[in-house]
Symmetry: C2
Subunit: 527 residues, 2 copies
């Protein structure tokens, strides 16, 4: 039987005094327990010989099958660089791919606009978590239903994430479904993110011609032309591949333009095993690796060394229906394998996690997210997207889930930090002192010193005794997350834009976000 120690000598006293100040200081110093960019690489589902086989299969696919539907511009560019057009498909000789790999960017930096938030040094085994998803619905807590998402939802999700410490980048969680004009859509997404957070962010464009004006918007915020290129805080999404092995025209145009501009290409290539990729997970990995290498080649043909995430996102089908299932064990293991392939090439990696199939933040959502998030991180995924807020196989987003998943990502990041083994941490002398002396470590100086640096204390996760939990209303974590999301959204309006610059942006672009939505009491009542 487990001996659960009941002693509670370290519980802070009621209020005031030294203990309270210490508790306060402790809470502030909790940030040091985990941080952006900790190292993964301890989980390796594939063996070295597996990686070599997948690489060889991808090379063979690129050389003999190639990629269909390239635009005339890309065909010209690629054949100039040594590709071969075979019955309309662009085929990549093996030696050409190996040249591309030798010269591709191995890392890049996404900057934050404030020292409060970390810059993302993307590469190696450094791990960061980010939102993304571009869902079309928002989960309504009270009615447990989904409704179409709006621009204000996107802005609110962004300023909520601004306060969530274990999410290192805001990627576009929802689409403003009420905006049908594609130009308005692009500029308003950019504006909502700019004004919602100073963390690094990610967005996608519907129209390639909107990229340059948006960078002008970013430059206005940074203080002048060319500033964004010096310290880019935004990465540029898109899905340039339609699996199996074809280009998607509009997104390919975006990829060409962002590469010309030297921006960070933050693509996603997401074939589904059994539907748009082979049913065997290994076959899906071979195909998606080929698709990823083709994009990498195009980017590097345009601008050698241009940053691009090797963003192979193998998805899983539920073959009973053919539909995408994001929360399966197959998804968890194949994503970790995708990270390994990226590291095999020493490329910066982006993968998804936390794509639960559940429609509500319940135990299913918890374990599907927890398992996929921790394995993507332990594999060493550099930027792990979709990692908070998403529900229903990416169909919806939830403010409650954003808050709840952030707490979970704290736990995940504590796992990734691992265990430091040194003569000091092994504590042989402390063990001798305590075993021969008081018989417990609770009051030992080493324990007090490490209390705030070795252990991470969750904010939402409940650790109370059953009796106390019952007295407090037998709440589950979803109820608590709803309360906390409301508290943050009612008061946290970062308002990161200089009013004059804001005015200039609103004069120049068709900004639709109401000024009132950027003030308290618009739709969240202060507590």
């Amino acid at each position: 039987m487990v001996n659960i120690v009941k002693e509670n000598r370290l519980r802070p006293t009621r209020s005031g005094g030294r203990a309270a100040r210490k508790a306060q200081r402790s809470a502030e110093s909790q940030n040091q327990v985990v941080k952006a960019g900790m190292l993964g690489g301890t989980y390796k589902p594939l063996q070295d010989r597996d990686l070599e086989k997948i690489h060889q299969a991808a090379l063979k696919i690129l050389e003999t099958v190639g990629i269909g539907d390239a635009t005339p511009e890309v065909i010209e560019l690629a054949t100039d660089h040594g590709c071969i057009l075979n019955e309309g498909r662009l085929c990549f000789p093996q030696a050409l791919i190996e040249d591309v790999l030798a010269n591709a960017a191995n890392e890049y930096v996404v900057h934050s606009r404030s020292p409060t938030h970390a810059d993302l040094h993307v590469g190696g085994y450094r791990v960061h978590y980010a939102t993304s998803g571009e869902a079309v619905t928002i989960f309504e807590y009270d009615s447990k239903t989904y409704r179409p998402s709006t621009l204000v939802d996107l802005y609110d999700a962004c300023r909520l994430v601004d306060k969530l410490e274990y999410i290192h980048q805001f990627g576009q969680t929802v689409i403003p479904t009420e905006i049908s004009d594609l130009d308005e859509h692009d500029f308003n997404v950019a504006y909502a993110l700019l004004s919602g957070t100073e963390k690094p962010f990610e967005m996608t464009f519907n129209r390639v011609q909107n990229i340059r004006p948006t960078i002008e918007m970013f430059d206005m915020v940074l203080g002048g032309p060319g500033r964004f290129a010096e310290k880019p805080f935004c990465t540029f999404g898109g899905c340039p591949i339609v699996s199996p092995l074809r280009f998607a025209k509009d997104n390919l145009d975006v990829l060409v333009e962002t590469s010309r501009l030297g921006l960070i290409n933050d693509i996603a290539i997401a074939p589904q095993a059994g539907a748009t990729a082979p049913a065997p997970l290994a076959g899906t990995l071979a195909q998606v690796t080929a698709e990823g290498l083709a994009c990498l080649a195009i980017v590097n043909f345009i601008r050698p060394g241009c940053p691009m995430s090797f963003a192979i996102w193998p998805f899983i089908s539920d073959l009973r229906t053919g539909s995408f299932s994001g929360g399966s064990g197959e998804e968890a293991v194949i994503i970790a394998a995708a990270v390994q392939i990226g590291k095999f090439y020493n490329l910066p990696t982006t993968v998804p996690s936390c794509m639960t199939d559940s429609k509500i933040p319940d135990a299913q959502a918890g374990y599907e997210k927890g398992i996929t998030a921790v394995l993507a991180g332990l594999a060493g995924g550099n930027r792990i997207l979709e990692s908070a807020g998403m529900l229903g196989s990416l169909m919806g987003c939830s403010f409650e889930a954003l808050v709840l998943d952030n707490d979970m990502l704290g736990m995940v990041q504590r796992v990734i930090r691992g265990i430091e083994v040194t003569d000091e941490t092994l504590s042989v002398d402390v063990i001798k002192e305590v075993a021969l002396g008081p018989g417990h470590y609770l009051g030992h100086a080493q324990t007090l010193e490490l209390m705030q640096s070795e252990f991470l204390y969750p904010k939402l996760a409940d650790r109370a005794a059953p009796g106390i939990w019952e007295q407090e209303g037998s709440k589950d974590i979803l109820e608590r997350a709803h309360e906390v999301a409301g508290e943050i959204l009612a008061v946290h309006y970062p308002n990161h834009l200089d009013p004059k610059i804001d005015e200039s942006i609103r004069n120049r672009f068709p900004i639709l976000l109401p000024r009132d939505a950027m003030k308290q009491n618009y739709r969240w009542a202060a507590p």
Copy 2:
């Protein structure tokens, strides 16, 4: 934006005909996707040099600090084998421990009493999941409160687990708190498990003198004296250590007796970092390794090669209160490290997982269980205990959680299975055929062939579209688990004991489980 394939060509038709028969056959053949004893070992939080340092620290602790409170019997035995008594503490010279390690059992088998269930071949990197916990309360779904657990609860939990395919062994989930007589307690636990399942099981004893009569009970069921020793289906729990570094008298007596009898010693050594072990996780590992090696030495002094799980269970304290926290990131990583230490010694390992701090099967319970369960398995833990049903840091058990966690363990086991990379699974020819042909894999022969062997389909986890989920009442997985638990408990009475043998057992032992509790409608209404 993610292209979610809507095609559903493989959905079985309404009823009857070839498709329905195929779906039926498919459901039956799902067992082949995962199985007991799949190989872990792909997650390694510690490096080789860390393992060597922990080993050296443990040896130093055993030699210089030793273990206190040994019984006179154990002191005599141990000093005869070369231990040194130093100020009342039993110290273990380094060379002695190395001898013990060289001769200890590297594996053992726990048998099932039916070909329906797998035998557990414990050792190497083979992974199995089991319940356990010995909680004192049961979660009441309707009132969301906890009440004291009873003998009928234990029997019901056991026959529920008998139907849950991803749980390979039943360990004693709850204590019959209404039984105060320690002999009645021991015999009734044994009887409840014997009659509740033919899976391998685990139990602990309050009184050492009850072990031999209980084995006679087991022999009666198997058909005669000595039969249990030939095919043991029960492992024998206990906590012979009170951390830091002391023996626990009663449990040490049990360990001595089970070793004399050559039974499977299924102990648990659970010091808490910061309370009964050092705050640094590495220090806790050094201490618990020393404690585990001391037990291994005693077992092997008594009977060289007697099976014993190297069951180091480092626990985490929440140092704000000093109480045990089972659901933290620290717990997840230190348990995986404990498995690595066991594998460093090539010993069979037992570790806990799924010890959530939540009091209800919510998202917190989900991610805390999911993360700890998958990492213990990927590390290669041989028998992973506490893995289903437990809530509130092991204070309570829940029928709903048993059902729900079983579904999660299916996902976890699919992760552990990993990805098979062969020329065939890489599918280069299939990719070529599909890319140049139909453009999707849904109808391909390879997809149809692998539909039931590559992918695991959950039973409780929901994958429906949001609209369908709303139409069906916006249920969470806890509600579905409650329904399924009730359905199984209402009808699944395995009744595995021959009536005559049952009568003999009841004549000989003070059996308290009402015969009515072993029939339908006792407290679960058939649907």
